[in-house]
């Protein structure tokens, strides 16, 4: 007999999975960045559907309240995702810096070329 909590967990993780897939479908999220969220939602869904896994994992980890394992999994994924996005942002920061610097150099070359073309100005 499924508890209210279990039904809630199934609905929420199922909705999360659908949301991520829909975001990819609408091209709001690229495949590359969606994988971490799909894994997260899938893991939550599996754990809510088969409570035995949850109970076994809880006992193995020494957790007395099995649903707390759900939270643990969620926090783990959110942590990994944040770290991953920090890496992505750092890379983009480097790319932006490089672009702005190169643009400044191009702009200078353009001004120089214009100066040389009209020397009497």
């Amino acid at each position: 007999m499924a508890s209210l909590l279990q039904i809630g967990a199934i609905l929420v993780s199922g909705a999360l999975l659908l949301l991520v897939i829909d975001l990819v479908r609408r091209r709001k999220l690229t495949e590359e960045y969606s994988i971490i969220w799909i894994l997260c939602a899938a893991a939550l869904l599996v754990l809510s559907l088969w409570r035995d896994i949850l109970h076994v994992t809880a006992r193995w980890l020494g957790v007395y309240y099995p649903p707390a394992v759900l939270l643990l999994v969620l926090i783990f994924f959110v942590f990994v995702a944040s770290l991953y996005f920090s890496v992505v942002i750092s890379g983009q920061r480097r790319q932006i810096e490089s672009l702005v610097e190169e643009m400044a150099l191009l702009d200078q070359r353009l001004r120089e070329a214009e100066r040389n073309r009209a020397p009497d100005k």
């Binding site: 810096e97 702005v100 643009m103």
Partner: protein, 238 residues
């Protein structure tokens, strides 16, 4: 020897004309390049009016990026030496000759002017900023094996090898303490010289207590991480 005076500037419209005038008067053989880091005070328009060569970053990136862009310019234009001069008038044009001496004599790849070494008149007022500067300097000395008294100095001269390395690898953000570590770690020799420096002409120092704290943290991190990195290309040693 082609020498470029590189001036990274952000909102220095009040002091920049005097700095450029002093450079033109005291070091007329020097080429000047100002890198305007997305100033909002009309520095850009003023540079055109002064007829000085300049790069304009369209977004504010920080002094490290401004210098990197300037070094790429120097590399493309085949300059042998780049002297970094601050736009606030702290670095006297008359001292450039002594700063580039070790590079001309081939005894160093880079040289940094110190406000504290020797009989120089400059003293940071006692307090947390001075304490912070000392901590960073001691730290950088220990990590790089080069004894420095002024790790937050921005008065630098770079020779050809340093230009080549830093045109790609100049640390962004607030870079001075990290710069010394990077150069030493890449097998380049750095000389520190006592230099008489002025107080800034106008505006506010960007070296706040928070920045010094950040510099401490970055230096600590660089100290931990840099030995784990592979030595960068184009540099000997390591």
């Amino acid at each position: 020897m082609k020498v470029l005076a590189l001036i990274p500037a952000r909102n220095e419209a009040d002091s920049l004309p005097a700095v450029i005038a002093a450079l033109r008067q005291e070091q007329p053989e020097l080429d000047i390049l100002v890198v305007d880091d997305a100033s909002t005070d009309g520095t850009g328009a003023m540079l055109s009016a002064l007829g000085v060569e300049h790069l304009r970053l369209c977004e504010h990136l920080g002094v490290g990026s401004a210098i990197r862009a300037g070094l790429r310019y120097a590399q493309r234009k085949r300059f042998d030496i780049v002297v970094r001069v601050d736009g606030d008038g702290q670095h006297p044009a008359g001292e450039i000759g002594s700063l580039i001496e070790p590079i001309l004599a081939n005894t160093a790849d880079a040289a940094v002017g110190s406000r504290f070494g020797g009989a120089a008149g400059y003293r940071t007022p006692p307090g947390i900023r001075r304490a912070g500067q000392r901590v960073v300097s001691a730290w950088v000395s220990a990590a790089s094996g080069v004894r420095v008294t002024d790790a937050t100095s921005g008065f630098w001269a770079f020779g050809a090898r340093a230009i080549r390395l830093l045109a790609d690898e100049h640390p962004p953000g607030y870079p001075e303490p990290e710069l010394l570590l990077l150069l030493a770690r890449s097998g380049l020799t750095v000389a520190e010289l006592p230099i008489r420096m002025n107080h800034r002409l106008a505006g506010q120092t960007t070296l706040t207590v928070g920045r010094l704290g950040l510099a401490c943290a970055i230096t600590a991190l660089a100290l931990l991480v840099m030995p784990l990195r592979q030595t960068t290309k184009g540099a000997g040693g390591g």
